[in-house]
């Protein structure tokens, strides 16, 4: 009897807790999953959707040739940022399941996130305790920001999941004092894949790898053993093969614009305030502080993982200052170190609680359950609060109605991705939004002095001016005046106006 109870407490209860948390995480993520992906950075998600659709049509032998050509052409309008592994995988699933359904990649992203959660649980359990691990997992899967962002069709959830797998394997590698081939290979592959999926992972992965190397008992000897160099090789060669040798020029341009040209931001106080303000909207600053401070309570290998990930996130911010202060998903890599910090905190407190009366422990458990339930409810409410089901129809109609007898310049949502995906049409040129202009100014470009000359230059060869982003048009009064005062309206529909640039009023 006693043995049975001990077994239940030691093995079954943690397993039940783990399964419950993973199921809760899955339930939260599949809620309203077929809603179009406008809830979180639609530009990025629709970009992936357009690429995937092109791949799917390319592979689908039965597809209508005209549609196929169109889908591939739209895919080709997309710039390359990272290898389209997730998109290719999704296209295969589309092919296997016989159709294009946007909830499929979102489900895949969610499953990848939960797999990352499982790795996080095991890592946290090894460096803290079961209670600490459960806390880390609960935070990782139930935080409202995590729920919304982790089901987005973009490489970031997979990158974070792979980064955690890398931490998990590196910890095992370090525990074997760098001698285990199995963990060497796994650590190298996970680390390399994380960076390959999205290059942002490089900072966290390299910082962790260095941290774990420092935890080795015999570092000098480790430098001479092949496992260390195989790990380093896998970590480096997989992503370097793509980013340096595959799209080297594109990578250089990307780094030059987003890092070098925007480096001035690092000297501006408002950049740090904007960064913190964005974080404030995602996670309470007190939680961030508590988790950071608690990271120093972890044992050496736990510290290597947590502090490596903290350092990685900091480096992301300093390297991509514009995005980190404006794109929420650039802060997704912050969630694993936060979770590890909470694991450390709860681990230490649970040790203290062991000496407390049963009633006190029951009280703490009840409070933990209430908080978990409340957080899950908030996450679910965030998803339930909005529905975008009617949005695609307007874009479909617009795509069908837009004339095909001339070139179109556009001031539109998400760089035209909504129109491209749902309307199957791509504008020929884009008018800069105020956000784009601000970005160009931050990068050192000067604003055009003569608006009319600039307008004439931008619209040269264009027949129509499409506007769907009316708030931005209001923010550009010169453009608004020029369009309304000079050109007749060629078409007007649900959510758009098309000006005819070939005629004047």
């Amino acid at each position: 009897m006693h043995t049975g109870l001990t077994l239940f407490r030691a093995k079954l209860l943690p397993l039940l807790g783990l399964i419950t948390l993973l199921l809760l995480g899955l339930l939260l993520r599949i809620y309203d999953l077929d809603d179009p992906p406008f809830d979180f950075h639609p530009t990025r998600q629709l970009r992936a959707a357009i690429i995937t659709r092109g791949m799917y049509y390319q592979m689908d032998q039965a597809a209508d040739p005209a549609r196929k050509e169109q889908a591939i052409a739209l895919w080709q309008t997309m710039e390359t940022y990272e290898p389209p592994i997730f998109e290719r995988l999704t296209a295969f699933v589309y092919l296997l399941t016989g159709g294009e359904r946007l909830w499929i990649p979102r489900l895949l992203a969610s499953l990848a996130w939960l797999a990352g959660g499982l790795a996080l649980y095991d890592l946290a359990r090894r460096v803290t305790s079961t209670w600490g691990a459960a806390t880390a997992l609960a935070f990782f899967v139930c935080l409202p920001f995590s729920v919304v962002a982790s089901r987005a069709f973009q490489p970031d959830p997979l990158m974070v999941a792979l980064t955690i797998c890398s931490a998990w394997a590196l910890e095992r590698w370090s525990a074997s004092d760098g001698t285990s081939w199995k963990w060497t290979l796994l650590a190298g592959i996970f680390s390399g894949l994380a960076i390959l999926f999205k290059v942002l992972a490089v900072f966290g992965v390299v910082a962790m790898a260095l941290g774990f190397f420092l935890t080795l008992q015999r570092r000098k000897q480790a430098l001479r053993q092949p496992q260390t160099w195989v790990l380093a090789g896998l970590l480096t060669l997989l992503p370097a093969g793509y980013y340096l040798f595959g799209i080297g020029k594109r990578s250089a341009d990307f780094a030059f614009f987003w890092t070098v040209q925007l480096a001035d931001l690092l000297l501006q106080t408002k950049f740090y305030l904007r960064w913190l303000a964005l974080l404030h909207g995602l996670v309470d600053p007190i939680l961030i502080f508590l988790a950071l401070a608690a990271s120093f309570l972890l044992p050496a290998r736990g510290k290597a993982a947590a502090l490596g990930l903290w350092a990685g996130y900091l480096m992301i911010g300093l390297t991509f200052p514009y995005q980190v202060a404006s794109h929420e998903y650039y802060s997704l890599p912050l969630l694993p170190p936060l979770a590890l910090g909470f694991a450390a905190l709860v681990d230490a407190i649970s040790n203290r609680l062991k000496t407390q009366p049963r009633l006190a422990r029951a009280g703490v458990a009840a409070i933990a359950l209430v908080v978990l339930g409340y957080t899950a409810w908030v996450a679910r409410s965030t998803l339930a609060a909005q529905s975008y089901r009617f949005e695609p129809v307007a874009w479909e109609k617009m795509g069908a109605a837009l004339p095909r007898d001339g070139e179109i310049i556009a001031l539109v949502h998400d760089y035209g991705n909504r129109l491209k995906y749902y309307g199957w049409r791509a504008p020929n040129r884009y008018w800069l939004t105020t956000g784009d202009s601000a970005l160009m100014a931050a990068a050192g470009s000067s604003a055009p002095q003569d608006f009319d000359a600039y307008f004439d230059d931008q619209t040269k060869g264009m027949h129509y001016f499409l506007v769907t982003l009316f708030s931005d048009l209001e923010a550009q009064p010169l453009l608004k005046a020029r369009l309304y005062d000079t050109y007749p309206i060629a078409q007007q529909g649900d959510g758009y106006i098309l000006f005819d640039l070939t005629r004047s009023r």
């Binding site: 404030h280 502080f289 508590l290 230490a348």
Partner: protein, 521 residues
Amino acid sequence: MNPAHSKNRRWLESLRAALQPVFSVQVMAVAVIFLTAAILRFYDLSDPPLDFHPTRQLHSALISRGYLAAWGGGNLTDFERSRAVALGASESRIEPPVIEFLAACLALLGTDVIFAGRALAAGAWLFGGLPVFWTGRRFGGVTGGMVALLLFFFLPYAVIASRAFQPDPLMVSLIAWALWAILRFGDTPSPRRAAWAGLLAGAAILVKQVAVFPLGLAFAGCLLADWEWHRAAHSRTVWLIGILSFLPALLYNVYGVFGDGFLSQQYALRFFPALYSDPGFYIRWMLKVESTVSLPVLLGALLGLALLQNRNGRGLLIGGLAGYLLYGFAFAYHISTHDYYQEPLFPLVALGMAPLAGWIWKGIGERSGKPGRVLSAAALIGITLFTLYTTRSTLRRTDFRPEPPLWRALAAKMEYDSANVIGLFDDYGYRLMYWGYMMPANWSTTGDEQMRILAGQTLTPQDFQTITGSKRFFVVQNLKELENQPILRNTLYNNYTIFDQTNAYIVFDLKSPKNATQPGQ
């Protein structure tokens, strides 16, 4: 050596020794925290108090101005003075008008009565920081004390709420003092300490009676952590604390209910047991906690409780939190709709975080040494500075200075005739009362009606003609509420001409119907 020189040197050394603790890093850090908290609270304090529960603040302002006017103070005309006295006297007094009285005294020196009230509230909160720091230091060392103080002073809601002209900031400060005094009594009981604990708890409960919940149970918790029931029941010092705590409020209530009678109707619409079975009530309550002290801080405080070594302290905080829960159930409607009902939670969570902070700091020192401590301290300073900046931005963003002239002008246009005016207001017409010296009748909002239904009252529909029969003006300030009452909206817009309109209000002239034949037409 010259004896005089030697004497001077000895004197200098003794002075240096005496001043050394004053200029220690810790003392300087605490001083900086206090100074920053004071600067933040006095920033833009002369803005009219419309940023935070204007109804409640203008209620206090009216009472205070009534005193001031009655004493002959303030720069008022005879008309304004007589109106101010009457308006002040007409305000209900649920709790004794302590802060209102003090504000009026301060205003006698020449300051504006609202500014005086807000400054007193802010000062009281700052003063409450002392016991928070001292008690926090006992629970979690100097780090614990400082973190408790940082939370008590700089949680964004605390900054805004502590500048409000209402009794709550003074009550919170006195709760903090009473908790400190009760803990001191619990550690080393003595008649002197009992007297202090009783007097401070009594003052807190007198200022706002809801303090009885956290303080009563905190006292019980602290006592029972160490004492047996029968020992407590037979202790004269315990009785002394009990009597000093309850007597002032008891006397006030006896006088208010059975003597003067001004309290006899004040306990209606307070108790809503029907809400207990509504899950939405708990969610709304949690959302209020989230928007005030924030859930992470509450959780941190609960974790801190688990780490607290001091038995009396643990009893004190558990009792205090249990008292807050009981208070929430007792005032179920208000706790889930009024954020300032969460204010008694501030000293409790700040103190609860102290042992957690102290314990983390100790752990970091042991496991990560100085680098860990330096990085953690830097992160804490960074987050505090960011919070300060955002709170200051919130204060800066709003400017209500254009409002008072608007209401003064409207009152003049309506010839100060209160009997002629009814309105649908955001704040029961308090702006018109305070700045316009008028007392308009109120058209009920849907929120008022819902509260009455919850309290079990039977409602009769508001009949427009019956209610507005003798009125000339219908002031609509709450335009959102007007949309919630489409019949009223249509009646006003379809039948009556607009007398005056600004961004703040629309006034309909009920004696000038739209379809009436105008003289001369």
